[in-house]
Symmetry: C2
Subunit: 330 residues, 2 copies
């Protein structure tokens, strides 16, 4: 499309204010000048509606006021929520967000990291399961859900506490024999702690439990086989299931219904994430809710804070439980 | 966080290639030089892994390779899908996407438009219901779902055809008496054509129909009152409902179930959008599917095409029908 270049320049401001160009430059860049000069320049800026050219400023100050967010995609509601809240946290601080959906382009993540190293973005917030990512420790990077090294902060939910809470809830709701179902990346990551927390909670509450754990890419049929193996004469061996996320919980609920089992009457099901239909409707299922807004705020705060002498390697934020119709809470 | 500036510069490339700085500049900016020089510079660029500083280049070429996407939020799955596919379409063309969720900041939209006018972004793709937006016709802007003026292209689904298709489907599926339920912005917009298409389809297929139309912000209770008014002795006057989007359809289905009505046995329901749980699961309901990937591709193509002598004011892309369990298709 055709462009226009009628926006006022620093020269126009200098002419309007009746001062030297260098004086305008000092005021714009926050360098002290005499009060009367500062006032003249500020009045001229306001009168002309002069806007600082952030690209020119970026070159000088090594600051672009832009942060890149790397997410696999926005199709998953937890990722979409993260994008929304991180954008809000950045807007509040007058920063812009470059969003890169990395699932479609395996090289994109590394390109953004190069941009950050070259000061073309001020930093990166990334949720990635790319095993080959190369990030220097000096790169301004905050990771979500996966630790990428001791000097790169990682922000996550308190996944262990979430798994523990799920076991406690199932016990409180009368379950005697439960199972944990998990699919996910085989790479070391924070969400894996949901399993350990759940086991710990089951032991504390004397719940019988089994685990069925498969990797991303393994056939879903393995869960169906597992459930059918534990199905005898119209009854399931389990009266409670904890699924590693809400999406899996919803798929498992359909399997149970196809087997003729009622949720929550015969089997109670708890998921993880706190995803909501259409972003603000009901929870898909009873769930351990991730504090998405707080995760977003923490990532932005950590990334943009000046003093990086304190660089916490892992920050875990508290989760909560929400009833969503697939447990007997009422 | 601490920055490093170890990336090779144009000077390093000149030294490595044994040519003048101006020669490197010419090659980088696509200005012809002697073949032997070009080869030397390209070899040096590859050897040093020199990356063009896009901010410096942006200043010179009035090009930033960055496009801003303005969306109310990413919490609505249709918006989240748009963000995903627009990012893919931009990545394919080596562009980056600034995403701005405007629901939280009423001034953000206007600020991005100013950025586009100042060539700080190469253009804007916006889905907005802001009635006060000021956009000059020369601003590179493509609108989604709402026409902002004759010289600003608008891309949308063929909403009229979608409404028509919903009426036809309900007729095909045996409905005799139907209703259209709509909530949305009172501003003129493309999705409003769903109503006209539906009415047209009902007339063509001799379906009795009623309309219940409320504005954003009106109480949802009005829909409940409407349905209860049409409920006599355990039966609803309607055997088919078309809801303006999937979110409304899901809420209405719950109201029907609370009234003791079965979906689809007693009442068949069709929504609009083609939203899917968790982005890739099942449709929430039977639905008119918006071609989100095609809308995204069209917006990006229109915005970035060089020749804007052809500036179509409105482009409507074809929709399709998908069964989602709330109609008697099987």
């Amino acid at each position: 499309m055709k462009r226009q270049n009628s926006a006022p320049t620093m020269k126009d401001v200098a002419r309007e204010a009746g001062v030297a160009l260098g004086t305008v430059s000092k005021v714009v860049n926050g360098i002290p000048v005499g009060e009367a000069y500062r006032k003249k320049v500020e009045d001229a800026i306001e009168k002309l509606n002069y806007q600082v050219n952030s690209y020119a400023q970026g070159l000088k100050a090594n600051k672009t006021c832009t942060v890149a967010l790397l997410l696999p995609s926005t199709l998953n509601p937890f990722f979409a929520e993260l994008a929304y809240y991180i954008d809000i946290a950045l807007l509040k601080r007058k920063y812009r967000m470059l969003l890169c959906c990395t699932a479609s382009d395996i090289n994109a993540e590394q390109e953004y990291i190069t941009m950050a190293q070259q000061n073309k973005v001020d930093g990166i917030i990334g949720l990635t399961y790319n095993p080959n990512l190369r990030i220097e420790e000096s790169t301004p990077y905050v990771s979500i859900d996966r630790s990428l090294g001791p000097r790169i902060p990682c922000v996550a939910s308190d996944n262990f506490a979430g798994g523990h809470l799920a076991a406690e809830k199932l016990a409180d709701l009368g379950c005697k024999s439960v199972a944990f179902l998990r699919t996910g990346s085989s790479l070391s990551n924070e969400p894996n702690k949901r399993k350990a927390g759940f086991e710990n909670g089951c032991l504390a509450r004397h719940l019988n439990y089994e685990l069925k754990i498969i990797d991303d890419g393994d056939p879903f049929q393995e869960f169906i086989d597992f459930l059918e193996m534990h199905y005898h004469k119209g009854r399931l061996d389990f009266d409670g299931l904890f699924c590693v996320n809400d999406e899996l919980a919803c798929r498992i609920i359909r399997v149970l219904q196809n087997m003729g089992l009622r949720v929550p009457e015969d089997v109670q099901v708890i998921g993880f994430d706190g995803a909501k239909g259409f972003g603000h409707g009901d929870y898909y299922c009873s769930t351990i809710v991730q504090p998405t807004a707080e995760i977003a705020e923490m990532c932005v705060e950590l990334l943009l804070q000046g003093n990086m002498s304190v660089r916490p390697p892992l920050i875990c934020l508290p989760v909560s439980y929400a009833a969503g119709g697939t447990t007997k809470d009422m």
